[in-house]
Symmetry: D2
Subunit: 233 residues, 4 copies
């Protein structure tokens, strides 16, 4: 089966949600792949099911995540997303409990178990500090806490929340990687979040709805690199 | 957008559910593709999301169906199956209301509308004669009625049910294609169902759980061809 | 078990959704009960689960419907709504497939079967003409078609839709009762819908959001009676 | 609004699931009520929605819990279970995340918030030690951990699991009450679990499937009382 992919920190994460589809997804993935290579930064890429295999074949530096998977085992079942199938297609991990695809507590636990069984990374989302603490108990590899409390708040209070989520998660399992992705729309935010101690930063809407998505993703990954250097010094 | 794929009758339908995954899916699809060419028969192939594009690229005679799709439009939404994405990957149609993925009445209607909008075939499943009549109202392209009443019944009573489902569906819209797939495990059944007036026959479990799946799928498609000839004479 | 309640037409239907709760529900039900008696009109009353028994005990002229029920049988299962339990509490029927509680095709069929088994009335909702035709196949006792096509349309085109839904349903099973409830906010509409051939009319939001709900429900039931008389002459 | 009901420990918990319905539920509740009075023990009683009000009216010593509730607020919505409605009917608390009604992480958090807002007790179920730790983060009033690990294990290993769940929950919030209910079928087990440090014990199937349910519930509550005395000495 091989081993679970080791992520070098700080990392970047992006995806396409359903903003684009077909060849545009591949084109975007290839641009991200080049920036990942250029700055020597690990990038997680959340891909629609249909595009996982092609992106895996056509890129070299991306850690591809499926946007969800079921926990069934090979056998019957139509339209279910079989963990073995997304892994065979090239996914090295899976997203869990995205606010647009909430999961039951039990399914979260079972999906992390299945991911571990297949040496796949588990990337869990949480909507509040309590949710982040709850989900930490299952020891996923990465947590993306996007506190709904943040929405509408000032930059300053944002950062105190960020620091708090970071603290409570690391307090439970220090090796869980923490990524911030809430409302990131420029490279400066990426830099600031990583300097504040986060293991990664991510953006999908912030890039794809920007004026020049290809330039924006380059800017963001550049800032991951910049923060990495500044943290070393 | 092009036009909706025209299916030549009698046709055959198969898929892999979750019995196999990865390269085994491609290998099976290629065997089916060859049999489709050899007997000059249209074959519908239900593919896991992750394998649609590769099968579309690597085969010539299959009409690929996604096992399900959502009805959202391009934009936000993670883990949803975007119709435009499955079409761009190579799917020419979509399965609806499979008993392992039941859908609400409203979602059935909306999914058929989305399929029509994208010139995709709609392949709807029904669990009883009443369900077959109900689902016919939305005018899908193909209906696969698998009456639970059939289970455990004798061959003779089976055929009377088959004839009844055929009649009630064609009575509502004569151009809906009717496929029988319940419990088909050999070529003789395929032949008999088509001789009884059905537009197609299908099998997934019956093939993949057989001793020699590649031989079995050839046998079944051969029987579609045989019935086609005998119907002409 | 007794027999399924026979509804005298034209009838009226109302309920409280979640606009009010507790004693206010009983108070409203008693006002409706009095109007039902005063005008000698059958009134269907959709009650929250918690209030079914008390309303059944405290009123004489209402035909109480549960807003939904599951199809499980007595045994395990927590939080499921057992058909036998809602019937024992006093419900004489059940609502199916309300647009705020959509059901799968299969659940619609099974729920109507369970209702028939317990001599409970089945009151099914449909969102379009195709849905009304589809749901008619299962032969529920009453259909409430609320075409989304209606929304925003003119009064004149409204009535042509109403007549069309009425025609397609009666065409499938003439004994299905058809009720109109979409956007009814005054007695005049109740009168017009019944004069147009509908078996019943209903309103919940239109009454509870009106200035004087008790006066409004009296006005509407008065208009059912008025239409009944005018239809006789 | 009043104050949230204070539970005296050790307590007992029971309910009827869907084993019985109608008058049999009331009869059972009254037997439980008498035993609660006889032994002066607080008893939580999980009631079907339809029976909450009648049991609240007809008993004096039971703390009634709804088996589930939604989080919507008064207004639209049919078939949803409005928190204000179950409270008005007499429920003093609500069950969350029962394994027969699993909830999303987000719904668990929101339901506990709604319960607190209405001074209702939150009684949360968990299927494993990790789930118990996860759900503890939301600070429900009571947790019922029923480790699936327990199934088929020996009595001895059972108790070590029980002690472990107790420890991890109290470690997060010492004031969360912990109840054991997994597979309890006699009074001795009730006694042992409470002597092991649990705040309560519960049984539904174990009582209702026993030969003499009325005698069994008396035996169990007697054992709560016995343990209470023995713990004092």
């Amino acid at each position: 089966m091989g081993k679970k992919k080791k992520i070098r920190t700080p990392f970047f994460e992006t995806g396409v949600k359903n903003y684009i589809y077909g060849d545009a997804v591949l084109e975007y993935a290839q641009v991200v792949d080049k920036a990942a290579e250029k700055y020597d930064i690990d990038v997680l890429f959340i891909s629609p099911y249909t595009d996982i295999r092609r992106i895996a074949k056509s890129t070299k530096n991306l850690i591809i995540l499926a946007p969800y998977m079921d926990t069934l085992r090979p056998g019957r079942g139509i339209a279910d997303v079989l963990p073995e199938a997304v892994k065979a297609a090239g996914a090295q991990g899976v997203v869990l409990n995205h606010c647009e695809r909430p999961m039951t507590l039990n399914a979260i636990e079972k999906t992390i178990e299945r991911a571990n069984e297949l040496d796949m990374l588990s990337f869990a989302c949480a909507d509040s500090i309590s949710e982040a603490k709850a989900i930490s108990q299952f020891h996923p590899d990465i947590i993306n806490p996007e506190p709904t409390e943040l929405i509408g708040s000032t930059e300053a209070s944002d950062m105190s929340y960020v620091v708090e989520t970071l603290r409570v998660i690391k307090d439970i399992f220090p090796d869980i990687l923490v990524e911030q992705a809430a409302g990131i729309t420029n490279g400066k935010q990426v830099y600031d979040f990583i300097m504040a101690g986060n293991d990664g930063a991510g953006s999908a809407s912030g890039i794809l709805l920007s004026e020049d998505p290809f330039a924006m993703v380059d800017e963001m990954i550049f800032n991951v690199k910049k923060a990495k250097k500044d943290l070393k010094n």
